[in-house]
Symmetry: C2
Subunit: 231 residues, 2 copies
Amino acid sequence: MDKHSPISITLAQRDEAVTITRWVYDTLHNAVLLGQIPPGRALTIRELASLLIVSPMPVREALRQLSAEGALEIQGNRRVMVPKMTAMKFNELVEARIAIESHAAVRALPYINATIYQQLQAIDEQIDEAEANSDPENVTRLNQAFHRTIYTAHPHQVTQPLIESLWLQLGPFMRLSAESLDEYYQIDRHHEALTAIEKQDPLALQMAIAADIRDGCAFAKIPSKLQKLLN
Amino acid sequence: MDKHSPISITLAQRDEAVTITRWVYDTLHNAVLLGQIPPGRALTIRELASLLIVSPMPVREALRQLSAEGALEIQGNRRVMVPKMTAMKFNELVEARIAIESHAAVRALPYINATIYQQLQAIDEQIDEAEANSDPENVTRLNQAFHRTIYTAHPHQVTQPLIESLWLQLGPFMRLSAESLDEYYQIDRHHEALTAIEKQDPLALQMAIAADIRDGCAFAKIPSKLQKLLN
DNA sequence: TGAGTAAAAATGTGATCACAATTTTGTGAT
DNA sequence: ATCACAAAATTGTGATCACATTTTTACTCA
């Protein structure tokens, strides 16, 4: 059935009252974020359909949506795959994250009230816990939740979809970051961010967010890690 | 057939050797950018299919892609429409444009060689021409081409899809800007940008891009125009 | 005349089929 | 063994159909 390596995808929880297309989308979205689909591996509609035990139709729709979001790439051959990474592209993605997310954080700052602040503290504690348990998958997931909670505090926010797109494009390669977690000492940037929020200090928040993103992607500066990134 | 106002869509040029889905996408993409589809107007697959004289299938695919790009919005009812605008959202979109596009411009600056510089000059001249002819549609189109040429000079650029998404979201409402062109004196920000490029001055380019975007959206500060924006 | 409700029409989702184009496989010659 | 090339299998695209849900229309009652 498969000329290339077999892929093993974690099935998303199937919520009734939700369309099949949505479920397929969630499942593939997650698979891309977790790096379960090797970059460059050709994805066919029928293969995914039989893998997820659904008809080809919902897969078609999900693939098109994920492609529009930058999670997948449609080649000239009309073949769909997870885009391959290059060192230059990785760097641009990180710089784009810094530019957009620090902007989003500053914009959202005035809307971060006590309730949201407590949510952030709770997430931060969970991150410490996950780090103590060496649970890189949850560290990544909670880290995204931390950032998302900040940005979406703004009621008229428009950048979150763009940010999610960048996360999707970096996602497949962030597992390398998660694996390096304990190898290098990490300053607690989240704590810096929380302090900046407390003081309602835009510049400090901006710096904390930028530093947090840079720290999280610092592994790409390590030659051995960088090499794995590009394969 | 239509409970709401009838919509008149400019059909994109039909290039053979291109999928029907792609043609439908281009057509609707253009229609959204030109504000030919009233915000809030419910779009049904079958109506568009008969309007474009294609089967429902390519329309389905195009609608999903456009929704993923933020050009359209899928409501809870599963109804698709051009998102309605609010003053706050408009402001956020403009600020997001400034943040991302000035970042993209600075990143691309080192890659803008003589050839690209001449392309920019040529586009700028065309803009002057279109302005002299009071051709707001072409002014808008060429203005986008000017910006796109700068950003895509970077060979490993990753922000263009995000920027295009913002343009799509603002598009339906930019015709108000084009209509106000001759009403208010406009400083030639493109000339400032070209000078900054010539000097390879990142900060000056950033300022020029930011000012150009702000100028182009200044109409929203005029109460009467703002009112039309929200209807 | 206006509001509530039941019947009727329209809609999105999903399945299945046909077909042209692409990819893969199989075969033979060098 | 290696390459060229034709046959076979696979793939994406697009069309059509069925069905549950939603929306609209029509009608009744206050």
